[in-house]
Symmetry: C2
Subunit: 171 residues, 2 copies
């Protein structure tokens, strides 16, 4: 059995579990059961629950943002990404909650957020004056974190987001 392959299997299960039930649905027992292993065996690949969760969460987020459809407007593209991420609200809130305790979690969160922020900035670039780009990106980014933290309807998320973008950027 190849080690990388086994890790892959674990992360695949972990990503599914975490997307469905968040941090507390994830347990070494659960993973071990689904893979037909003893609980202790999973520790051979992941030394702690935080490491296991971080890898699973990263995979789940990656999967949610892969295969973006071709959309004509930058607003539609941002709305799409936010909707995708909002299906992982449980993962997001836990990531933010646990980042205070776990350096690994904090690092993962920073990586994810850095990437999202870069993408957002690239989308906004053509619609915001250069000297305002950083400030607008920063504010919209924080706003999106808020959207992802709150239990809103799809409709409300989109309404708020469109309003803010209309106020801060050109059509």
């Amino acid at each position: 059995v190849d080690r990388a392959e086994k890790i892959e299997e674990i992360v695949a299960v972990g990503a599914r579990v975490v997307a469905a039930g968040g941090y507390e649905a994830l347990s070494f027992s659960r993973i071990a059961d689904e893979l037909g292993l003893a609980r202790g065996a999973v520790y051979w690949y992941f030394p702690s629950k935080d490491e296991l969760f971080a890898a699973s969460a990263a995979r789940a987020i990656d999967a949610a943002l892969s295969h973006p459809p071709r959309l004509r407007t930058y607003v539609a593209r941002i709305v799409w990404a936010v909707e995708q991420l909002s299906t992982l609200r449980a993962v997001h809130t836990t990531l933010q909650d646990r980042a205070r305790h776990s350096g690994r979690m904090a690092a993962l969160l920073e990586g994810i957020q850095g990437e999202l922020r870069r993408r957002l900035s690239a989308e906004l670039q053509s619609h915001v004056a250069t000297d305002r780009l950083d400030a607008v990106t920063g504010v919209v980014f924080v706003f999106i974190q808020g959207l992802l933290a709150m239990p809103l309807t799809r409709r409300d998320r989109e309404r708020h987001l469109r309003f803010l973008l209309a106020e801060l950027a050109d059509s």
Copy 2:
């Protein structure tokens, strides 16, 4: 021993523990030890950890927002409130995380957020056109939730907040 008084003692300890270390620092053992009780005794007053946490969190948030200083501008008043709440970031993220599982937690969160939203709307009223007030309040509120979810410096929080308010409201 008066029941209300005992609950008061428990909540006072709980609020302190929760403000310092969040949800996971809070335990029935911890409370019981600090009050010289057996672990099981605390269940006589709070039937679950979520109820205990909800009451403690509500108290901590209340305490953070009491005694506001007199500030001249509405921006300064909002900045102050956000700074106060940001000291309870751990409480906030946990509240949002656990609201998915616990009806009690969801209700508390809704109550707190409703109150904050009303206050925010009242502050914005004189600086935003009436037909825009709801939309602006909504967006700023979500934005503030984002500020409270992220590990930012005091300086960044204030900078982002002032920029957004300058864009959406009159001086």
